[in-house]
C-alpha cells in the first residue's frame, strides 16, 4: 500500500525581502503559516507548486512543506518549518519583530 500523503503547504521566500511566505487558497502570498492552503491531495499539491514556480517576479525557492491542521489553521510539523514561521531564536527579528506570527 502506498504511504499516506502528508498534507502540504506551498512555501517560498518573498523576492525582495526574502521573508517566508505561504500560498493561500485564494492565490495570495501570506506571511502567516496559519493562512496557508493545507493541501491534502498529492496531484493538487504539484499543481499548486507549479503555479508558485511561475510567479518568478514575486517569490523565490517555492517548495512543498509538510503541515497539519491546528487550532488556528495549518501549522508546521518539522522544527525547521516552525523556525521559518517565527524567525531566529537569538533576536526577536523576522516575523517575531513584525508581530506577524
Amino acid at each position: 500500500m502506498a504511504r499516506a500523503f502528508i498534507p502540504k503547504v506551498v512555501t517560498a521566500n518573498a523576492l525582495i525581502e526574502g521573508d517566508v511566505v505561504y500560498l493561500t487558497a485564494d492565490d495570495i502570498w501570506s506571511r502567516n503559516h496559519a493562512e496557508a492552503e493545507l493541501i491534502e491531495d498529492e496531484a493538487h499539491a504539484q499543481l499548486r507548486l507549479l503555479k508558485a514556480d511561475r510567479q518568478r517576479d514575486r517569490v523565490v525557492g517555492a517548495y512543498l512543506a509538510d503541515a497539519r491542521m491546528g487550532d488556528h489553521g495549518p501549522e508546521p510539523i518539522h522544527f525547521r518549518e516552525a523556525f521559518r514561521t517565527r524567525g531566529p531564536s537569538n533576536y526577536a527579528h523576522g516575523k517575531q519583530e513584525a508581530g506577524n506570527v
Binding site: N13, L15, I16, E17, G18, D19, V20, R56, D57, V60, G61, I77, H78, F79, R80, F83, R84, G87, P88, S89, N90, Y91, H93, G94, K95
Partner: protein, 556 residues
C-alpha cells in the same frame, strides 16, 4: 595596509554596475531564479531561511578603521544594526533586501571592500593569521602573500567554475593560528636552510562531511614560485577533481583517491609547464603590496602605569591575563576583543560596537583591526600604557569580556537560526553553555578550552577541531547534538573522535557540564589543560561522564 590601485577600484565598480543590472533584471522577472542564482552567489548574496544574506569578504581578516565604520553604517542603513563575523574572516548581513544590495555593494566599494567570490565554486576569501605583523613568533608577515593570492585568484578566468569551492589560508608564524591544515591549500611561511623564507605548501585539508588534515605537498617552495605553483595545484585539481558527485568534489578527495604521490607528480608536471610561460608578477604591483604592510610607527614610552593599573584594578587585571597576546615590539600588546559576552551570539557585533572599535583603533591601535577565525576582533598594536583607557572604553559597549580562549569563547556557526543548510541550531547552544558556565562559576578554574559548534555536517563551526566539538543534526525530526573530543586546530591538527550517541537539545548543556566537571576531577593540577588531560588519559573518563548510565552498567 593595502590600498586599492586604480585598477582595483575600476574592477570592483564595474562588477557592481554589472550586478546592479542583473538585480534589476531579476526583479523585473526577465531573469529566472535559476539564471540569477549563480550570478548572485558570485557576488556573495545567499538566500537563507528568513531573508537574504550578504557575505562580505574581509581579506585576510584585516580591516582599517574607516572600513569598520562603513560596515556599521551598512548595518544601520540596510540591515538590523548588526553584523556577524564568521570563521572565514567574513562579515555576514542577515537581513538585506534584494533591491538594496547594489547600493550596499557600492557603499562597500567606497571603502575598498567587496563580496566577490565569497561564494560559488571559486577561490574564496583568502584567510590569514589574525595576529599577522604583530605576533612575537612570526617568521614572515602572511598578509602580502594573502593579498597577492587575492589578486591572482579574483576573477581568474580558469578558476571560476572549479569542481567545488576552494579555500586558501596563510600563516607566517611557528604557531599556526590560521588553521592552515583545514584548507584546500595551506601556506606556511618557513625559513629554509639558507636562511631565506619560503613556503611549506599543504594540500587537501578540509573539515565538513569528510574531515581530513592537510598534507605537505612541498616542504619548501621558493617565494618567487608561489603563483605558478598555486596555478599548477588548482589547475591540476580543476582537471582531476570529480564533478559527478558534489560530496566528492573537494581537492581533499582528489588527493585521497589518487594518492599524494600521483597528485604531486601531476602538479609537478603542470608546474613545469606553467613556469615555462610564466612572465612573473609585475614588480611594481609586488612593491605596492609589500610597501602596504610595513609596521606602524611604534613608540617608545614607559609602561609603569600599566603595571600600577593591573595591581589596582582586579577586573582590568583579569582581562589583561586572558585577552592579551605577546607582541614582537617591546611595550606593545596584541588585544583580542571578545565578541563572546556571556549569552551573546558568538561573532555578532552591533553597529555601536563596530563604531567604538573603529574609534579605539584610531586612538590606540594605529587604525588597524583584525577579525579572527574564532570570531573575535583584534587590535593588533596597542601600547601597554594605553591598555587601561582602552579597557575602560570597551566596557561601555560590553566589549570587555575577559574570556579569550576560555570555555565561553565558543565558535558557533549561524546554524538553523539563519542558515538554509543547517540541520539544527548552534547559537542558542553556545549562548546557554556560556551563561551556564558563568552561573556555576567554573570558567576561570577550567582555563584554556576550545568549544566549537556546527549546525550541520559542513562544519563551518570547525567542530572537528574543537577540544570539545558539538555537531547539531536532525534525527527523525528532532534536534540532536553529537559530541567529539580531542580535536586540535593548530599546527598539530587532530580530528576529534565522536564520543558516542548524540544528545537532545535540552540534554546538551548538562552533558557539557558533566564533561567539564570530569576534567576538573581527573586533571593532575590546574596547569594541566582539558586537552592535555584528554591526551594523557584518553577518552574513557570523559565518555564515562557523558554516559553515566552506561558507565554504571559496565561497572555492575
Amino acid at each position: 595596509m593595502y590600498n586599492y590601485t586604480d585598477f582595483d577600484t575600476a574592477y570592483v565598480a564595474s562588477r557592481n554596475a554589472q550586478f546592479r543590472r542583473q538585480v534589476e533584471r531579476r526583479i523585473s522577472g526577465a531573469l529566472t531564479e535559476d539564471e540569477f542564482r549563480p550570478l548572485r552567489l558570485m557576488n556573495g548574496l545567499y538566500l537563507q531561511l528568513h531573508a537574504y544574506m550578504l557575505r562580505v569578504a574581509i581579506p585576510y581578516g584585516t580591516l582599517k578603521s574607516d572600513q569598520m565604520r562603513q560596515l556599521a553604517m551598512i548595518a544601520d542603513r540596510w540591515d538590523k544594526g548588526y553584523g556577524h563575523f564568521t570563521t572565514r574572516q567574513n562579515i555576514q548581513y542577515n537581513w538585506p533586501k534584494l533591491s538594496d544590495v547594489p547600493d550596499i555593494l557600492d557603499a562597500l566599494g567606497e571603502v575598498q571592500m567587496h563580496a566577490i567570490q565569497t561564494s560559488g565554486n571559486t577561490i574564496r576569501n583568502v584567510t590569514a593569521d589574525h595576529f599577522a605583523g604583530a605576533a612575537a613568533d612570526e617568521i614572515g608577515d602572511p598578509r602580502p602573500t594573502a593579498e597577492l593570492v587575492r589578486q591572482w585568484s579574483t576573477d581568474h578566468p580558469e578558476f571560476q567554475f572549479l569542481p567545488r569551492k576552494f579555500k586558501i589560508g596563510v600563516s607566517g608564524a611557528a604557531h599556526d593560528r590560521a588553521v592552515t591544515k583545514s584548507h584546500d591549500i595551506g601556506l606556511r611561511i618557513v625559513r629554509g636552510g639558507n636562511g631565506q623564507t619560503g613556503y611549506e605548501v599543504l594540500v587537501g585539508g578540509g573539515l565538513g562531511r569528510t574531515p581530513m588534515v592537510g598534507q605537505v605537498i612541498r616542504p619548501f617552495l621558493k617565494k618567487e614560485d608561489l603563483l605558478p605553483y598555486l596555478e599548477a595545484i588548482v589547475s591540476t585539481y580543476n582537471t582531476m577533481g570529480r564533478r559527478d558527485n558534489k560530496y566528492k568534489a573537494r581537492i581533499k578527495i582528489t588527493v585521497f583517491e589518487n594518492g599524494m604521490e600521483k597528485f604531486r607528480d601531476a602538479v609537478d608536471a603542470r608546474f613545469e609547464e606553467v613556469k615555462r610561460d610564466w612572465t612573473g608578477v609585475n614588480p611594481e604591483v609586488l612593491a605596492h603590496i609589500e610597501q602596504s604592510f610595513l609596521p606602524p610607527a611604534f613608540r617608545n614610552a614607559p609602561v609603569d602605569g600599566y603595571e600600577t593599573a593591573r595591581k589596582a584594578d582586579p577586573v582590568f587585571r583579569a582581562w589583561t591575563d586572558t585577552n592579551l597576546t605577546e607582541h614582537r615590539q617591546p611595550g606593545y600588546a596584541i588585544v583580542t576583543v571578545s565578541l563572546k559576552a556571556h549569552g551573546a551570539t558568538p561573532g555578532d557585533a552591533t553597529s555601536a560596537q563596530m563604531r567604538l572599535l573603529a574609534d579605539l583603533a584610531d586612538k590606540y591601535g594605529h587604525g588597524e583591526l583584525r577579525i579572527s577565525h574564532e570570531q573575535n576582533v583584534v587590535l593588533p598594536h596597542v601600547h601597554k600604557s594605553d591598555l587601561w583607557a582602552l579597557h575602560a572604553s570597551l566596557k561601555t559597549e560590553a566589549l570587555a569580556t575577559a574570556n579569550f580562549g576560555l570555555v565561553s569563547d565558543i565558535i558557533a556557526c549561524p546554524g538553523m537560526d539563519y542558515c538554509a543548510l543547517a540541520t539544527a541550531r548552534s547559537i542558542p547552544v553556545a549562548q546557554e553553555i556560556a551563561t551556564h558556565v558563568q552561573a556555576i562559576g567554573l570558567e576561570e578554574d577550567i582555563g584554556a578550552l576550545k568549544i566549537k559548534i556546527s549546525g550541520c555536517i559542513n562544519a563551518c563551526g570547525h567542530h572537528h577541531v574543537g577540544h570539545i566539538g558539538i555537531l547539531g543534526l536532525d534525527r527523525a525530526g528532532v534536534e540532536n547534538y553529537q559530541i567529539t573530543l580531542g580535536g586540535d586546530h593548530t599546527e598539530n591538527m587532530v580530528i576529534g573522535e565522536r564520543a558516542g550517541p548524540g544528545f537532545a537539545y535540552d540534554e546538551i548543556v548538562p552533558a557539557i557540564e558533566r564533561l567539564l566537571r570530569a576534567y576538573l576531577d581527573v586533571r593532575e593540577d590546574a596547569s594541566e589543560t582539558f586537552i592535555d588531560a584528554y591526551r594523557r588519559l584518553g577518552p574513557a573518563p570523559f565518555k564515562a561522564a557523558l554516559y553515566p548510565d552506561e558507565a554504571a552498567r559496565d561497572a555492575a
